[in-house]
Structures are given as C-alpha cells and as structure tokens.
C-alpha cells in the first residue's frame, strides 16, 4: 500500500524525534542553571546522561547557553575521563577493577568481555550495542568481581557467565 511507510523510514523518523526531544530537554537543563556560577560540570553531567556522550553540537549548545567559551567546555570534558566525546553504545558494560574485584579475577573478566565483544576498553562495538569500560570500585566488594550493565548489577561474575550477560542485551530494541 502506498500510504505505508517502510520500517527503516519509521525508525529514522523515530530517531530524529528522539534527538529533538533530547535537545529540548538540554535546553531546559541549561535554562535552570543559567547565570549560576560553577554549573558547567553539572550541566555536562546531565547532558551526557541524556545523549550518552557529548557530541560537538551539544558542547556548543552548552557553551552558548552558559556563556562559557567552547574551548573551555571542551577542555573540561577532555580532562575528566567520565565524559565521552565519542558515541557510546546502547549499553555500557563496566567491569570493576577495584582491589577486591581485581584479586578475584576482574581482569580476566574484562579480557573475556573484550574477546566476546571484539572491542577494547573505552571502545564501542560496531553495532553500537555496547561500550566497554572499567570501573574503579563500586563499593560492593563483597560481590566481587562486579560487572554493571547500565543500572543492572552482576555479582561474582565467572567467565562462563559472560556470553549469557551479553545475550540478554543483544536481542530486541532495548
């Protein structure tokens, strides 16, 4: 039928609408912080939560909104390892390498994730599904080694559990 739009078109429209919504939300965040001193990091934090990373357009929007030079915004972002200037995957897998997790095999867990996902620490898989990062202690040392995926926490992770964790997020839209 001619009125029917194909799936990919629909998806593209959805993506654009989501993006527009995120920028509107960013505007609101900036609006509430405008004129206050020392809010840059706070705003960047919220912006990253919104976008998953901090693309140049977002950096420029923050700079303009807070009346801070773009050079300074970018300088702050690149100083803190928390901020990302490359696109992130849908899910961020963080493997804890705090002392307790480290001695209980965190490093091997991390290496296994790298192998399974074919991506190095700090990188994002080709399909933009996963980004892999390292955590420095999440304060749950009794559960070592700990892996978090987004807000989900996996405790006492053994190497053979890893494919299952990945599979859980691989299928479906989310």
């Amino acid at each position: 039928m001619s009125t029917h739009t194909c799936e990919c078109e629909e998806k593209a429209q959805q993506v654009a609408a989501d993006e527009k919504e995120r920028y509107e939300k960013l505007d609101k965040i900036i609006e509430t912080c405008k004129g206050q001193k020392g809010v840059l990091i706070q705003v960047l934090h919220q912006a990253q939560e919104l976008f998953g990373w901090l693309p140049e357009d977002v950096q420029i929007k923050v700079a303009e909104g807070l009346n801070v030079p773009i050079s300074e915004v970018n300088g702050v972002i690149t100083f803190y390892s928390f901020f990302n200037t490359v696109p992130r995957g849908e899910h961020t897998i963080r493997v804890c390498l705090g002392t307790a997790c480290y001695v209980r095999g965190g490093k091997q867990v991390l290496e296994q994730f790298e192998k399974e996902l074919k991506v190095a620490v700090g990188g994002t898989t080709e399909n933009r599904k996963f980004s892999l990062e390292v955590n420095r202690c999440v304060g749950a040392c009794g559960l070592a080694p700990v892996v978090t995926v987004g807000a989900d926490i996996y405790r006492r992770v053994k190497l053979d559990k890893i494919p299952g964790i990945i599979a859980k997020y691989t299928n479906g839209r989310s």
Partner: protein, 591 residues
C-alpha cells in the same frame, strides 16, 4: 591597608595583607626565579619553578600563589629548594624540543634563561616526548606544541585579557596540550589573530607566520618596485630589539636601515593615518548630521574587526566603513602612487611593518584589493621580523644616522603618530572634527582625557553646539564591556575608539618581547613625544593629504574615496563547524 610581617631568608619583611610570598620577596630585593608567573596577568602556580621552603610546612610551596602571613618563616635558597627547582625545570626540558641554536626565541627565551639561572648543565631525564602539533593554518599565528611548557599564560591572556577564548588546555597529565577550541586548527576557530598569546609565551610555542623570506625575495627581484610603510608604534619599539631602552624614538634610524635594506621608497603609514582621519572624521559628521547609526566605532584595528565580526555581528553597522591606515596605504600605493610613477600596479610590491600580527590576516582579506593586481599589501612584517631582517643585514642599528621618509606617502602629522597609542585615533579625529565643524583653530590640541593605559576611558568634548560624547577602550575584554552597553541600549556615545591590544598598537602582538605595563608606558611616552616634536599636528593640515584630494580623490567620502578607502565587513560564526574535523587533521608529528 593592614600590614603583616614575615621573615624571608632571615630578613624581616613587612608587606600589605594579601601579598604573596613572591611579592613580599620582591619588595625586599630577594629574587625568586619564576617561569609561568606573569605580573598582573597570570599567577597559578603551574610551573613550580618559584618553589620555596616554609618553616613547619611539609612540602615546598609555589611562592607566586602562596599568601604571606604574619610570622611566616620562608627560605628561598636552600639545597632542598634548589634541587627541587632544578628537577622541575629538567623535567620540563625533557619534554621540550631543544633546538636552542636555531630557535626563534634563542637569547630571548624564559626557559633558556631560567635553566641557565638554575645552573642546569645536563639533563638527567630522557623519555617519551608528548605528541606534537605544528599548526600553520593561521595567516598570523603559528603554534608549535613541541616547544610548549604548558604555562597557560596564552590561555589567560586569550580568555581574561582579550575575552576571545580561542585556546584552552585539553586532556590530562602527560597528554595535556594547549589547543584551539575543539582541537580544530587555529584558522577554524574564533581567533582574532591579535598575537597577544605570542607576546606572553615564554618560549617559541607561539610565533608569527614568517614573511621575511617573501620580502627578501621581492627585494632581490629587479622587476619589482618595492615600497615599505611603517606603522606609528614601530618607531618607539624596534630599538628594544637592539638593546635600546623601551620607548626610544628611532624613526630616523629605522628609515635608514630600511633604505639600506634595498627598499625603493620608505614611506610612512602615518600618511594614511592622516587620510583615515579625514575620511573617518567626515563619516562621523555625516552620521551625526544625517541620523546615521551611532555610536560609530573605529575600524583601524584588524583584531577588533574580526572580534566584532565573530562576537557582535549584529553591531557591524556601527563600525566605520573606513579601511585601516595599512589598507588605505596599499590601495593608494597601487593606484595613485603607481600612476604618478608610471608603474604598473603589479610591479609595485608593498610591504608593511606593523606592531601587529592581525595585520597579516587583514592584508589577505579578499576585499582588500583595489586593483586587479592581487592584494594591495603584498607582505606584512611584524616589528620583530623587521628587526630580524636588520640583524641579518649585519647593521649596527644603534649607530645608524637618521634618515627621512620619502615623498609623498611619507609626509605626516603628529595626529597620525598617536594612532599608535590607545586614545590616539580619537584625539586625532577630534582635532580635525573640531576645526572642520567650528571653522576655528583648536588651541590646545592635547586631549589628555583619552590618554593612558586605563582599559575604558570616557570624555565629552564641546564641538560647536554639540557635546560629543566619546569612549575609548583597549584590550578586547574592555571592548566587550562597551559593546554590551551598546547592545543594551545604554551607550549614549557618538564615537568609540577600540584597539584590540592593551595600550593600543604600542602593545601589539608583533612588538618586541616582553611587553609589560612599564614598557607600554615608555613606548606611549615615545609616541606623545614624537607628536609634540612634529610641526604639523592636525591631519587636515597634512600637505600631502591636501594634494592627494586635489589631484586624485576630490574630497572626503567622494566616489573615488569610497572605491579605494572604504570597505565592508562579514558576519562570522562564533563556533567552528561541528564535526568538521577531529584532531587527526591538525596533528602533524614534528620530527
């Protein structure tokens, strides 16, 4: 003010509360070596060269930021202090591309000086060098990060003094680098090319784009008629490059040096500065009488022009349409002068010597071409580059006899020479506007209200029936204050003079290094002395300018004037195009 007393190296020192240890030591005649510190501008304790020992404290402290307090016992010269300072500088050297013999800042390098002062004669540390970038994209400023010692002076000047914010440190630790916004090339970001970063750089990490090679080539080309113009602020500063005291007036020696270098004619930008006053003064009158856009701002400073294009594009109608004196000179050299001499414009090669790096950019603006023979100005040398060429000639500059500028583009007045100091254009314009409007002679030509280093100056001058309200700003953060007032509708001025660099052109980005407030004041005195020494001190009385109007331009704001001496401006983006490039494009490993 409340005082406090502390002990430094066994000496009782009393200083005002709020002083740092470094200031206290200085007042007691005790010298603490520094590197990143820059008086009145930059004190962040980044380089750790100014470390001192404090009795009872665990570690050494950076004296440039550590506050003096009552009863503090400070030692500035112990084995522990000396060894720490040495280690700090040796580490810096280990990440600095050392090529002192061929470096542009050799013998005028603060790292070299401090290293010598600390007696460093070997380097203990060898290892990885940070990734280096050589950014040649800007027509004015070159960045060579292989020399950068991360003192951040350039960042402070760019953000605080100029409110431009083109540079900032990115990344952390060993990866730290001072780069243009978003790691773009300098030409891609909102940099105004003022070169203030160059004048504060302790090393050769920032310097002007070289034009000396091009000028030597033109001078050696028998088919070229090579003329040179010298800006007002050069004559009171170039002597510093040859060990003379700041502010020494060396106009005659400079003319002789340039003539010996082989220029066919040695002319003066002061001539076209007088012409600028004629055009700009009449433009102001025209705006006043015909309800034009006010306040009108000056347009001679190319850094200021690029600043307003990037940051206040909506205010561009306020800017005078007059070209700068450099560009008026170029347009006339390739038309009026070429015709007079029976030369083809393409055979006239025009060089300017400017206290300025932004002039290099201005010369390359596409609208700055009055003939079909390419740009009106072929090459721009900074004061430093001109001095370099004089050195290359092997001349003993200080003992040169005085020469005279050539006719006709070398004839000028006192009103023109003061263009080199903040407030000078305003003063010169008012000298002429007053007489044009009232028909009376201005007895006291000295308008001292607009002189001096203060960032923003205001005055009201009675011209006939009208109280002309004027404002003068130098340094772009001061310009910003005035522009914010204009945006808010709170500026009831008629005329605003803006100079990009603090103190005006005498403190320009192309001037001898260093430039401190003390040096600015000395150069300023030189400028006003030069004005006083001139027989004619009003632009409209310049006989060569009068002849130019009679023979060629007819009258100010004539059709021909508009064609040759006026220009237009371009709205520019404040932000670089997003996503256009990431660091790869700029990163060019220096071997």
């Amino acid at each position: 003010m409340e005082n406090l007393t502390l002990t430094i190296d066994g000496k009782q020192v009393t200083v005002p509360k709020g002083s740092t240890i470094l200031q206290a030591a200085k007042s007691a005649g005790i010298h603490i070596p520094t590197l990143c510190y820059l008086e009145n501008v930059h004190a962040i304790g980044a380089c750790r060269v100014c470390l001192v020992e404090i009795e009872g404290a665990r570690g050494l402290v950076a004296s440039c930021v550590y506050p003096a307090s009552e009863g503090l016992v400070v030692k500035t010269n112990t084995p522990r202090v000396r060894s720490a300072r040495r280690a700090v500088v040796e580490l810096m050297l280990s990440a600095h591309r050392q090529e002192c013999t061929i470096c542009g800042r050799s013998l005028n390098c603060e790292l070299q000086a401090v290293s010598r002062q600390l007696g460093i004669d070997k380097s203990r540390f060898e290892g990885a060098m940070p990734k280096a970038t050589l950014d040649l994209s800007s027509p004015s400023v070159v960045r060579d990060s292989s020399k950068c010692i991360l003192c951040r002076r350039c960042v402070t000047v760019c953000h605080q003094v100029q409110s431009v914010g083109a540079l900032f440190p990115v990344e952390r630790g060993f990866d730290t680098a001072v780069v243009p916004a978003l790691r773009k090339e300098l030409s891609e970001v909102a940099c105004v090319n003022c070169g203030q970063c160059i004048t504060v750089c302790p090393v050769n990490a920032l310097y002007e784009k070289d034009s000396t090679e091009a000028v030597w080539k033109a001078l050696a080309d028998p088919t070229k008629h090579v003329v040179v113009q010298t800006a007002p602020a050069v004559r009171v500063a170039i002597g510093e490059e040859f060990g003379m005291a700041p502010g020494t007036r060396v106009t005659g020696k400079m003319v002789t040096a340039l003539r010996q270098m082989g220029f066919d004619k040695v002319f003066d930008t002061d001539f076209s500065a007088d012409l600028t006053i004629m055009e700009e003064g009449h433009e102001l009158l025209h705006r006043l009488q015909n309800g034009g856009v006010l306040p009108m701002t000056t347009s001679c400073s190319p850094g200021w022009i690029k600043f307003i294009e990037h940051f206040y594009p909506q205010l561009l109608p306020h800017v005078s349409s007059c070209k700068s004196p450099q560009q008026m000179f170029g347009a006339l050299a390739k038309t009026y002068y070429a015709e007079k001499m029976g030369l083809k414009p393409e055979d006239v090669y025009v060089v300017s010597i400017m206290p300025c790096t932004a002039k290099k950019y201005e010369a390359g603006r596409e609208e700055m071409s009055a003939t079909n023979a390419g740009p009106d100005i072929d090459a721009v040398l900074t004061t430093r580059e001109a001095a370099k060429m004089i050195r290359e000639m092997g001349m003993d500059f200080t003992s040169l006899p005085d020469g005279q500028f050539d006719d006709p583009l070398g004839i000028s007045t006192g009103a023109a020479v003061i263009f080199g100091a903040t407030g000078g254009v305003m003063e010169a314009a008012l000298r002429t506007v007053y007489e044009v409007v009232t028909g009376q002679t201005l007895e006291n030509v000295n308008l001292t209200d607009v002189r001096g280093l203060e960032g923003v100056k205001e005055a009201t001058v009675k011209v006939g029936d009208l109280d002309v309200k004027v404002a003068v700003a130098s340094g772009l953060s001061n310009a910003r204050k005035l522009m914010d007032k204009v945006v808010a509708g709170e500026a009831d001025y008629h005329f605003i003079e803006i100079m990009c660099c603090p103190g005006g052109c005498l403190g320009g980005g192309g001037q001898p290094i260093p430039t401190t407030n003390e040096i600015r004041l000395a150069r300023m005195k030189g400028i006003y002395d030069e004005d006083e020494a001139m027989t004619i001190r009003k632009s409209h009385e310049n006989p060569a300018v009068i002849a130019l109007y009679e023979e060629f331009l007819t009258k100010p704001l004539s059709h021909k004037s508009h064609e040759l001496l006026h220009t237009h401006y371009t709205k520019r983006q404040k932000y670089p195009a997003a996503g256009s490039c990431e660091c790869e494009k700029v990163e060019e490993l220096v071997k």
